[in-house]
């Protein structure tokens, strides 16, 4: 196991630990930011977590944070170094969505989550790598090179939010924000041995998130602890009138619910979450985790989610269909790549043919096909109906339990290049995470051990808008285990 226990290094602090030190003036935001920027500088040549960094601006934000702390007005994330997945639009730096088609694109507005973090004087250390338009499970689809897993540089970090996940796992950022359409936060969190939370659909404003599957997308955090994930969720959640699907409720109070007590909590285990191709190491780690939950006083109950196996095919209609429309705007007219083809039609086809990578083109094709005349009912409407069944599965299960526990992914991080030739094999990496997106419920992945030297993720799923219970259970489990304090040995420790 190439893991080391927590050190005193600044880049391994949790945000809540850093908060205390910052507010006691034992540490400055500038020092903390410099530590993370140095980490990026030394590690990113091999890890490639970030597409863009802007150290001067980061340090300016850190100075502003220190001033605020000096005035005694710090908020939860004041001065905390955060990385943003490059599908979140930001002013003052390019936002690429991991695509050639948006290389150099500058947004004239900030995403709501960026505004909210900025309002707390958080520090942005970079825009992190992603599969192109968040389509993928390995970050291999990025036009800006693959991100490497900090636990094993020959392995993928997962995806699509591989950059922000690896950045937190490697100590390049204390927290990061990703997006999760079918598992793109939870799966890389599991692969990288950190905490990754997909909030309830509608909990966090999607304004400024470059859309992939609009009815599935949700922004959420990566963190080194559940408590940190709760801290940043509280900062970014809450109603945004500029996102019509944003739930009209205030940001939840979660941190005060993290009691660490599991007594009497009903936790469901679904038989359908045992699939072919599940790695024994993963199976063992998850089974051990369930046992420890039981030992801590939780009531383990069997639940049935009978339509689970249909979630993946449903997703691969719904998400590409929505994506085919969402990506129509990249047409070489208003922004982004534009390849002159001698005629408008040629310009469209050349720009999109060359500007998008293979996976994006595949999904645009799949989605266009599923919506096209003659196939709409057979594919798109069929998928919508199965989506109803998937949602009903969870409604029924949650009548009996408070949360459901499951593996985050059937495997640990796979080798770079291993699944590129077979798209459907790649899609299977998300088999356990997709159902939550289809139902809109929250899910969190926490580290639960190692298999073959690579982290295994344990996924908890909760009721819609009950992140408080979900994270309270995840937190209690986390604190009963040593895993969350494990960090990869990256050789060039600073």
């Amino acid at each position: 196991m190439s893991a080391v226990a927590g050190t005193d290094a600044l880049h391994w602090l949790t945000a809540s630990e850093a908060r205390t030190l910052l507010d006691k003036k034992e540490l400055s935001a500038v020092e903390l930011t410099q530590a993370h920027l140095a980490r990026i500088e030394s590690l990113d040549p091999s890890l490639n977590c970030h597409i863009s960094t802007f150290p001067d601006r980061s340090l300016a934000q850190a100075r502003a944070a220190d001033e605020r702390i000096g005035r005694g007005e710090s908020a939860g994330l004041t001065g905390i170094p955060i990385s943003l997945k490059d599908v979140l639009v930001t002013t003052g730096t390019q936002t690429t969505a991991g695509s050639q088609i948006l290389k150099g694109y500058e947004s004239p507005y900030d995403a709501t989550v960026v505004q909210r973090l900025h309002a707390q004087d958080a520090v942005f250390v970079g825009k992190s790598n992603t599969d192109e338009f968040a389509m993928g499970s390995s970050t291999e689809n990025s036009s800006y090179g693959v991100t490497r897993n900090p636990w094993n540089l020959d392995r993928v970090p997962g995806g699509s939010s591989g950059g922000p996940a690896a950045a937190v796992a490697a100590g390049e950022a204390m927290l990061s924000l990703g997006s999760d359409t079918g598992g793109s936060i939870r799966q890389p969190a599991g692969f990288c041995g950190i905490v990754g939370l997909k909030p309830t659909y509608g909990r966090v404003s999607r304004l400024g998130l470059i859309a992939f599957g609009s009815s599935l997308d949700q922004i959420g955090p990566f963190a080194r602890s559940v408590e940190d994930a709760a801290l940043i969720l509280e900062a970014i959640a809450g109603h945004d009138p500029r996102d019509s699907t944003s739930a009209p409720m205030p940001s939840p109070d979660i941190c005060s619910h993290l009691t660490g007590d599991l007594a009497g909590v009903r936790i469901g285990v679904a038989e359908e979450y045992a699939v072919d191709g599940m790695e024994p190491g993963v199976e063992t780690a998850v089974a051990t985790a369930v046992e420890s939950l039981k030992d801590a006083g939780a009531i383990i109950k069997q639940v049935s989610l009978p339509h689970t196996r249909y979630a993946l095919p449903t997703y691969y209609i719904t998400a590409p269909a929505e994506a085919s429309a969402n990506l129509a705007r990249f047409d070489g007219v208003k922004y982004g790549l534009s390849i002159d083809g001698g005629s408008l039609r040629e310009m469209y086809e050349q720009t999109r043919g060359q500007g998008f990578g293979p996976e994006v083109k595949r999904r645009i094709m799949l989605g266009t096909y599923a919506l096209s005349s003659g196939y709409y009912d057979a594919y798109y409407v069929k998928a919508q109906k199965v989506r109803t069944l998937l949602k009903q599965d969870f409604d029924a299960a949650f009548a009996d339990v408070d949360v459901i526990v499951a593996p985050t992914s059937p495997t640990v991080a796979f080798p770079i290049g291993a699944r590129l030739d077979d798209p459907y094999q790649m899609y299977l990496a998300d088999v356990f995470t997709i159902p939550a997106n289809m139902a809109g419920i929250p899910g969190v992945s926490v580290p639960c051990g190692f298999a073959d030297g690579l982290p295994v993720g344990l996924q908890f799923l909760g009721k819609a808008f009950d992140e408080a219970t979900l994270l309270s259970v995840a937190h209690a489990y986390e604190r009963s285990q040593p895993w969350w304090r494990m960090h990869p040995e990256l050789g060039n420790e600073i």
């Binding site: 500058e106 004239p108 659909y201 509608g202 009815s215 009138p241 019509s244 699907t245 739930a247 009209p248 339509h307 249909y310 993946l312 095919p313 449903t314 691969y316 209609i317 085919s324 129509a328 070489g332 007219v333 208003k334 922004y335 982004g336 790549l337 534009s338 001698g342 005629s343 408008l344 039609r345 310009m347 469209y348 050349q350 999109r352 043919g353 060359q354 293979p358 083109k361 595949r362 645009i364 094709m365 799949l366 266009t368 096909y369 096209s372 594919y379 069929k382 998928a383 919508q384 109906k385 199965v386 989506r387 109803t388 069944l389 949602k391 798209p423 459907y424 289809m438 139902a439 809109g440």
Partner: protein
């Protein structure tokens, strides 16, 4: 579910995706394979099941009819590949292009 090359070309044209011959063939094979997996959905009888387009349990989400300031034009045009007279510039659409309603 086997797609033909003609179907691939038709869908690519709808999506305005320029695909090379090799890409078209690869797309035919891969999409056919993916659709093969997707056809598992046909095992389910969904006749009486209502569709779910979104899980947001909201309705009548709207705003008041008030005007707020727009973007400065420099920002509207700041990423424009081609611009002219304060507008985005394109080659004139040909007669065969779809046009607006």
């Amino acid at each position: 579910m086997e797609l033909t090359l003609d179907e691939v070309r038709h869908v690519a044209a709808l999506a305005r995706l320029g695909l090379t011959d090799a890409e078209q063939e690869l797309m035919r094979d891969q999409l056919s394979s993916i659709l093969g997996h997707i056809n598992a959905l046909n095992e389910l009888d969904t006749e009486s099941i209502p569709p779910t387009a979104s899980v947001a349990a909201l309705q009548n989400v709207w705003r008041d009819d008030t005007v707020q300031s727009s973007l400065p034009r420099e920002q509207v045009l700041m990423n424009a590949p081609r611009q002219n007279e304060g507008c985005f510039e394109v080659d004139t659409p040909l007669g065969g292009e779809e046009s607006s309603s």
